[in-house]
């Protein structure tokens, strides 16, 4: 990259350029190079009004966006990575409350990266869902 940007700038740029992130209401905070994504509870995220519970697709999408945000923070290209595949494990019902997620980049390849993400609500040690995914680094030009 010709222009130097900080991780915080790269994160802010990723969050601001993606309309679907605004639709979810997702935010993220950076402590050094460690990012925590936050999905504040909102009624439109509910998939089951009886329990009530967040839509499973919302949890999957939130974790996928967390992986893309973490990749944007470390790789810093102007275009977001593209999702190749994700495997979502649902561990506990996502309650009608705020959700958090952290991504771990298992391998940052030149072309393809492998990322794990866990999402939790009340306790980090009791994740509500997790994903493993592969993401393609965008080619420039």
């Amino acid at each position: 990259m010709s222009t130097e940007t900080t991780p915080a700038e790269r994160l802010a740029a990723f969050l601001a350029r993606t309309p679907y992130i605004a639709f979810l209401g997702m935010r993220a905070e950076l402590a050094g190079d460690e990012m925590t994504a936050i999905l504040p509870f909102s009624p439109h995220l509910i998939g089951n009004t009886l329990l009530p519970a967040l839509h499973g697709g919302v949890l999957g999408a939130f974790m996928e966006m967390t992986a893309l945000a973490q990749l944007a923070v470390i790789t810093g290209g102007p275009r977001p990575a593209k999702t190749i595949d994700v495997t979502i494990d649902y561990l506990r019902p996502g309650r009608a409350m705020d959700t958090y997620a952290r991504a771990e980049i298992k391998k940052a390849g030149r072309r393809i990266s492998s990322v794990h993400v866990e999402a939790w609500q009340e306790a980090r040690a009791k994740p509500v869902a997790a994903i493993r995914g592969h993401f393609q680094t965008p080619t420039e030009g």
Partner: protein, 151 residues
């Protein structure tokens, strides 16, 4: 807002077209995404999500975000389980392969098929396409726990 008796029928009663339509269009998240009911048949279901600017993933391409596809595929899996006269309790796992980007500003359609039911688990395949089911945007494989099972 949804009247509870209708919702319970949609979630647990025998799935007629009205209940299926309710399940697709009347949960807060599917309503927010603008999901439209397409069809149900034996162990199969189909849902459409019309393109909308606020659902885009990359504004440079105008393609619907992959996260929307995730929710669409998860929901059509649940619909096809209901169309097989079982009641999903929740998704256990969902694997999605993204074959290609959708066309810019294209609506997406998802087709689900619950191809195997055990006492406790439903196995489902689904795909999402933007007009031609033989050229899918994404394919999915999922397992769901069933209500009344031991899971």
């Amino acid at each position: 807002m949804v009247k509870p008796p209708d919702f319970i029928t949609a979630m647990t009663g025998r799935l007629d077209e009205q209940a299926a339509r309710h399940m697709v269009t009347r949960t807060p998240q599917t309503e927010a995404l603008g999901f439209q009911f397409v069809s149900i048949s034996e162990a199969r279901g189909a849902i459409r999500v019309p393109w909308r600017a606020d659902l885009v993933g990359d504004p440079e391409t105008g393609v619907i975000a992959s996260g929307v596809v995730t929710t669409l595929l998860d929901h059509v899996c649940g619909l096809s389980i209901r169309a097989a006269n079982a009641v999903p309790q929740g998704t256990l796992d969902l694997r999605i392969d993204y074959m290609r980007p959708a066309r810019p500003q294209a609506d997406l359609i998802a087709d689900g098929h619950c191809y195997k039911l055990t006492r406790t688990i439903a196995f489902v395949r689904a795909l999402a396409h933007d007009g031609d089911p033989d050229d899918p945007v994404a394919t999915a494989q999922a397992a769901f726990a069933l209500i009344g099972g031991g899971a």
